[in-house]
Amino acid sequence: MTSFMIGITGYAVLLALVIALAIVARRPGVPVATGSRLIASIRRTRTGRILLVLGWAWVGWHLFVR
């Protein structure tokens, strides 16, 4: 297996873990916040909202401009 494939596999595993965590978090009684609750918690304050928007803007700039 080449280093490139190992890298891709690593990202695929992490993506699968994120999806699994999001699914598990929706089950009642599991002490893990759901993805929407996580985002909502970040957005509770004005600072959190601004940081989230700046992160979103950076992603757009990085992907579509640079």
């Binding site: 280093s3 690593g10 990202y11 873990l17 996580l38 509770r44 928007v53 757009g60």
Partner: protein
Amino acid sequence: MGKAQQVRAVRTLSPAAIAALAAAACWAWFASGVRTFTRPAEVLTFIPALAVLVLTLRPKARSIPILAGPAPPWRTFIAWIVMLAAVVGWELSELFSQPRQGHPTLSSITNTLLSTHPSRFLGFLAWLLLGWLMVRDLGPGAPRDEQP
């Protein structure tokens, strides 16, 4: 808004919403068709970003009631923090590995995924949608923010 109301709202889009959606799609099509590292790319990406930032910064922007409820215990976020650390760690590991071509990063993967106009259009549209989701529930009538 209840779930039934939300479903009804989605099914019956107002003319203004349809016009906004069409405008966003047109914007995304043109923005995804220009070359990177050019002035048009900068302008077409900067304007929506600025619009979302202004809507977030306006003094009357308040969060919806669901955001103003009691905060969940911080320990419920640990799994997400660990996951974020794992992604950042893997990304940095790949970024600083040699040879560069042999180690993909999130940027190189997304560049490949967004290399055609249709895929780039969908990516830009998704980015615009995320921006809209961040401001759609901010309004002057909602309760005040929680103090950090």
